[in-house]
């Protein structure tokens, strides 16, 4: 199959708040099954851009198509066809692992039968048999993050958006999390991820770096390092963002 399917196509996408341009004519495409790193300094416009892509903020101008749907006219369809996980919004601490899965399965409109199947598989895959009836709030952060990621995939979305998914976790768990990401991407799901860990930027197929609302660099980590003549993605970032 020579045809490459793009699951995110963005052209000149812009968002203004009053006379402040938070996102300034950004243009890029993301392929099916790709791990796409979306980097930038705090305040560079990443969150605003991501909100437009997941259909919860209206762009001021430009075009964007996500999972086959237009962000202007079909924002609701986008929400049904993507997964989203962030460090801030994850699972309900006062529900058990099983209850959380059932709840989110219901939100995504899965049938009872499907939810049952998915719950069983998720608990087996993550080895959570012992804790499936425990409150999520009582589990270590690393477990919560793995469950949260799996829950964001319940409805088999084409794309999953991960907003700083690994903040604060220990280095071993962080790597286990990335192995889950690799596996998911290998199964054809596109990963769109933001992170402040620059070694994680190296794990991405391609990386974009936003500076003051614009995408100032976009390429494979290898090519970016070559382009900026540095050893690591951290140095690429420092060179770009410091100007």
């Amino acid at each position: 199959m020579m045809h490459i399917e793009n699951v995110i196509v963005v052209k000149d996408l812009t968002k203004m708040f009053g006379d402040f341009t938070a996102v300034n004519t950004i243009t890029f495409k993301v392929k099916k099954g790709e791990i796409f790193g979306f980097l930038g300094a705090n305040g560079a416009g990443k969150t605003t851009a991501m909100k437009m892509l997941i259909g919860i903020s209206n762009p001021t101008s430009g075009e964007a198509n996500v999972a086959g749907f237009d962000v202007f006219t079909n924002a609701e369809d986008i929400k049904k066809n993507i997964g989203y996980m962030s460090q801030k919004f994850a699972l309900y601490d006062d529900l058990t692992v099983k209850e959380n899965i059932t709840f989110f399965g219901g939100i995504y409109g899965l049938s009872r039968k499907k939810i049952k199947e998915k719950t069983k598989k998720l608990i087996e895959d993550l080895g959570l048999q012992e804790v499936s009836n425990q409150l999520v709030g009582s589990l270590p952060l690393g477990w919560k993050q793995k469950i949260s990621f799996s829950v964001s995939l319940l409805h088999e979305p084409k794309i999953v958006f991960l907003d700083e998914p690994t903040g604060g976790v220990d280095p071993i768990t962080r790597r286990q999390f990335w192995e889950m990401i690799y596996q998911t991407a290998n199964n054809g799901t596109t990963i769109f991820v933001t992170t402040h860990y620059m070694d994680e930027a190296e794990y991405c197929d391609r990386v974009s770096i936003m500076v003051d609302g614009k995408i100032e660099a976009l390429d494979t980590p290898k090519n970016l390092k070559k382009q900026f003549d540095v050893e690591s993605m951290n140095d690429v970032f420092l060179k770009l963002a410091r100007g």
């Binding site: 300094a41 220990d170 990335w178 690799y182 991407a185 402040h196 190296e202 420092l238």
Partner: protein, 300 residues
């Protein structure tokens, strides 16, 4: 000693947050507590800043006992908690004045200490703290923690969630404060920041795994570490994990960090194996362990 911690323990119900921890921080030292969420870093900070009473053990800060002399300690230390702790509805200037007033001082009195940092946020001094960007909030919080010229500065995860550029600037500020004679205890989950401290303690699950200078700690790695690379990262990790001689396999930037459990390991053998797994563009070369490698080895 600026900070002395002896056999400190603290439990919350069944959870042992800090488990028999001891360490010392010298005067003027920049000492790092390096570990993930839930390691016990914040509990330790709260004990040392007299906000929490330990179950067991003795601790002193600036030669003052955390239990008996808690009032004096509060005057002698600056504390920047992990969560943004300033008054969101007060402006930058009002926050700073407020903290100065509480400690019976004024912005002018210790201005030289905060000047470097304050000039960066001064253009926004009329802005409410809640409306500042993450990096700005962090700088304001640091100014407020310094306003009474503390002997010891406690910074609990000051750079968490902060981008690499702001992180780098923050560490440059800390180095300058250290030169002014302030002892600094800082915690971070970012292992790369460990190298910027004079000495570090690696901490996990309430226990200290190791204490030393960062450059000494990396020397203690018990194996030869290899960078292994190939075209398909996912397949590479999978194949390495299935290799019967593997001791550890951790993705690390563009490579996988690999150690072998044989004493007479020949990289050529691994290369042949990976070729038989249909991997292409295979690279195997020795590399230097980082603090993160040590941490993973100790936590294994």
């Amino acid at each position: 000693m600026s900070i002395s911690v002896k056999h400190i323990s603290k439990s919350y119900d069944d959870l042992k947050a800090v488990d028999d921890i001891s360490f010392e921080v010298k005067e003027g030292e920049l000492f790092g507590l390096i570990g993930p969420d839930g390691a016990g870093k914040t509990t330790l900070f709260r004990i040392l800043t007299t906000l929490l009473i330990p179950d067991e053990g003795i601790a002193t800060v600036a030669s003052l006992d955390v239990l008996k002399d808690y009032k004096h300690i509060r005057h002698s230390v600056g504390y920047m908690p992990g969560r943004f702790s300033l008054y969101q509805d007060l402006t930058v200037e009002e926050n700073l004045n407020f903290f100065a007033a509480i400690f019976g001082t004024s912005i002018e009195e210790n201005y030289d200490l905060i000047k470097d940092i304050y000039v960066q946020i001064e253009p926004f001094k009329k802005r409410r703290a809640g409306k500042l960007s993450g990096g700005m909030k962090q700088k304001l919080a640091l100014c407020c923690a310094l306003i009474h010229k503390p002997k010891v500065l406690f910074l609990d995860e000051p750079t968490t969630g902060v981008d690499p550029v702001s992180r780098k600037e923050f560490w440059e500020m800390l180095k300058r404060l250290q030169q002014k004679g302030i002892t600094i205890l800082v915690s971070t989950p970012y292992m790369d920041e460990a190298a910027l401290c004079d000495r570090i303690a690696l901490i996990q699950d309430g226990k200290i795994l190791k204490i030393d200078k960062p450059q000494e700690i990396v020397k203690t790695f018990p194996k030869t570490l290899y960078n292994v690379g190939a075209d398909n990262m996912y397949q590479l990790i999978k194949s390495l994990k299935n290799y019967k001689y593997q001791y550890s396999v951790y993705p690390f930037g563009e490579f996988v960090h690999y150690t072998d459990n044989r004493s007479n390991f020949n990289p050529e053998d691994l290369k042949h194996y990976l070729e038989s797994e249909k991997l292409t563009n295979i690279v195997i070369e020795t590399t230097n362990p980082t603090i993160e490698d040590i941490f993973m080895e100790l936590a294994k």
